[in-house]
């Protein structure tokens, strides 16, 4: 997707089309909101500034940022290799299942042991959920869009089973398990408002993905595979391995996002914890045009919008889907701007 060598085009120049895209979508939705009889200015203020108006708003944004940026990478890494991973949701869910399982089974272990195990449980489970479509692609040439999506549905059924099965919390109204051991909780950076260390993990992953994609030899091979799998294969790159590798890494990262939700936020397995992270992750990945450097910034922006959206629904009764339409429009405009630039 991107050419990665030493030089980069002027940052201002590459930022401009995004700015236009955001403005255009806000105008479009603004008109719609106005037509429906709501206060446009108040709506915009709420969407854009809730994150910055209070410490709670800001930490909420950072908390949202963590799974979003990880889901985005789970999409962009296979994208670099030319493959579409739509399974981040299922991979997150099984990651959460893996993490909770470890956290419940080894309930009494101290943090120094339990926490890494919990996270590892999520990573491995997610990696397996990415390996399956990867293997099906490798061995049978089955389109990964289909297999990753289908596995999402399998994961939905699976989490429902586990959250209503042997580990279920009988006091909860919604399918939920009993909590994991306290050793599995992610330490908090701030207690009030709550912000967990998953943020550091997410940032670490971002740096890692960036270095991997742009500087490592394997990263080059992955990018070459995505650029032209046939030519890459002719010149010695083991293309099929690249496909599997990218899906496994993606699954692992998505699984990690699930583990972080369990270890940092819920401290148990709750059905529905995957929220709308997948779709937003894909939107982020596409807006960022697959560029690993742009992903965290776009992810943060989307997190701001999401926090603003819930606030807007709470205070102004405007449905959150409005903001979703904004996000979809931003994507559309960003894609269009690439076309315009071509002319």
């Amino acid at each position: 997707m991107t050419t990665i060598t030493g030089s980069k085009p002027s940052i201002i120049k590459s930022f401009f089309p995004y700015l236009i895209a955001v403005l255009a979508s806000l105008v479009a939705v603004g008109l719609f909101i106005g037509l429906m009889g709501f206060d446009i200015l108040h709506a915009f203020q709420t969407i854009l500034f809730t994150s910055f108006k209070s410490p709670n708003g800001f930490t909420q944004t950072l908390l949202k940022f963590v799974p979003l940026v990880l889901q985005a990478y789970a999409f962009t890494i296979p994208l670099a290799a030319g493959k579409f991973n739509i399974g981040g949701e299922g991979q997150l869910i099984v990651g959460a299942i893996g993490a909770s399982a470890v956290g419940i089974i080894f309930f009494d272990l101290p943090m120094v042991l339990l926490l890494p195990l919990v996270l590892l449980g999520g990573i491995i489970a997610g990696a397996i959920w990415g390996l399956v479509p990867g293997w099906l692609l490798y061995k049978f040439n089955i389109n990964e869009i289909l297999t990753t999506v289908l596995l999402n549905f399998v994961a939905f059924a699976l989490i429902n089973y586990i959250a209503t099965g042997p580990w279920r919390d009988p006091t909860a109204g919604h399918p939920t398990t009993t909590p994991i051991g306290a050793g599995g909780f992610l330490p908090m950076i701030i207690i009030n408002p709550p912000l967990h260390t998953g943020l550091f993990i997410a940032l670490l992953v971002s740096v890692g993905v960036y270095l991997f994609t742009t500087r490592s030899t394997r990263g080059y091979e992955m990018v070459a595979t995505g650029a032209n799998p046939r030519a890459a294969g002719v010149f010695g790159i083991k293309v099929k391995n690249m496909f599997v590798m990218s899906l496994v890494i993606a699954g692992a990262i998505a699984g990690l996002s699930g583990a972080i939700e369990v270890a940092g936020v819920q401290h148990r397995l709750i059905e529905g914890l995957q929220s709308n992270f997948l779709i937003l992750g894909i939107i982020i990945g596409l807006i960022a045009r697959g560029n690993p450097l742009a992903v965290p910034f776009v992810a943060f922006f989307i997190a701001v919008l999401e926090v603003g959206a819930s606030a807007m629904q709470r205070t102004m009764k405007i449905p959150v889907e409005m903001v979703f339409i904004v996000e979809a429009l931003v994507l559309l405009f960003v894609l269009l701007s690439a076309v315009v630039r071509r002319k």
Binding site: L136, I142, I145, Y161, G165, I283, E321, L335, L336, V339
Partner: protein, 313 residues
């Protein structure tokens, strides 16, 4: 009639009933694909048309308006897909995903805006069965095949019509050629752009029809996420059917058979937790695809955009 046969007849009747969204969405995907346009937005289109079709029926009191609205919505998505890919030459998968998001968002936004959140869901009447005179009175077979709602009949007739259209008319030959080699078609004077737009719009309308079937036949109302992956399954079905209309019809029977089986086994309660039975359609599809992708018969130019002035080397 003995007691044993009644459940079997009901079972077979249900299969035909449930195959409709698969057939319609599958044929819709196939039609677009035959011109080289690979639609992956089915899930979003079906959700959106289910939502809008339901709302149209609810407010006009007329199921026919709902069907019309759904097909128009689907057609618009098809038009958008054709425009962004054929005219603006953007990546078909990426646009498909973007349209999926738009459809998804609109499908939940519109009911919330128009109806709001209510305790009891608003309902529309469901489609009645239309028994075909004489034929529906044949014992057993008549009940299964000739006493169904109109869209069941439409699905079957549509499939046959598409087979005839694609393979027995010169228009069909031209359409197929644009999906195999637009360069060849273009050089012989065939309007590739027109074919792509037409196929994508018609395909989208069929997918829209598949979507509105769900509220109109299953539940009588629209619920979020009610498509439950059938849009994605339709893509698998199209590959499974080799992009051929009659094979897609037969494949749809298989897909719906598995879906009904999951429910049937639930009722008989074999001791397997029912969640695992819910997984059945999806796992079965994955399994089936192992054989499909061995030697897929796919239109050669599927998923790619054609640019006449692109200089080959």
């Amino acid at each position: 009639m003995t007691d044993v046969n009644i459940p079997l007849i009901l079972y077979l009747k249900l299969i035909l009933l449930t195959m409709v969204p698969f057939v319609l969405a599958g044929q819709g995907t196939m039609v677009g694909g035959r011109a080289g346009v690979f639609n992956v937005a089915q899930e979003g289109i079906m959700l959106c048309s289910a939502s809008i079709g339901f709302l149209a029926s609810y407010y006009t009191g007329n199921l026919g308006m709902g069907i019309l609205a759904a097909m128009v919505v689907g057609g618009i998505f098809g038009l958008a897909l054709a425009y962004f890919t054929t005219t603006l030459k953007m990546d078909q998968f990426v646009i498909g995903l973007a349209l999926f998001f738009v459809g998804l968002g609109l499908s939940t936004l519109l009911p919330k805006l128009l109806i709001g959140v209510t305790m009891t869901p608003p309902l529309i009447p469901t489609l009645n069965n239309i028994p075909i005179p004489l034929l529906s009175e044949i014992p057993y077979i008549g009940e299964v095949f000739f006493n169904q709602n109109i869209l069941v009949y439409v699905s079957v007739l549509l499939s046959i019509f598409l087979w005839w259209g694609l393979y027995k008319t010169s228009f069909g030959l031209s359409l197929r050629s644009t999906g195999e080699s637009p360069q060849a078609s273009d050089s012989l004077g065939i309007n590739v752009t027109f074919m792509r737009y037409l196929a994508s719009i018609v395909g989208g309308a069929l997918i829209g029809l598949a979507g509105v079937y769900l509220p109109m036949v299953y539940t009588g109302t629209f619920t979020e996420g009610m498509v439950k992956g059938r849009g994605w399954l339709a893509i698998a079905l199209t590959f499974f059917g080799g992009w051929k209309p009659l094979n897609i019809l037969i494949g749809a029977l298989f897909f719906s058979g598995v879906e009904i089986l999951a429910y049937k086994v639930q009722i008989t309660a074999l001791g397997i937790p029912y969640q695992f039975l819910l997984m059945l359609p999806y796992l079965a599809t994955i399994f089936v695809m192992i054989f499909t992708f061995r030697k897929p018969t796919v239109p050669q130019f599927l998923g790619q955009n054609y640019d006449r002035e692109k200089r080959s080397l």
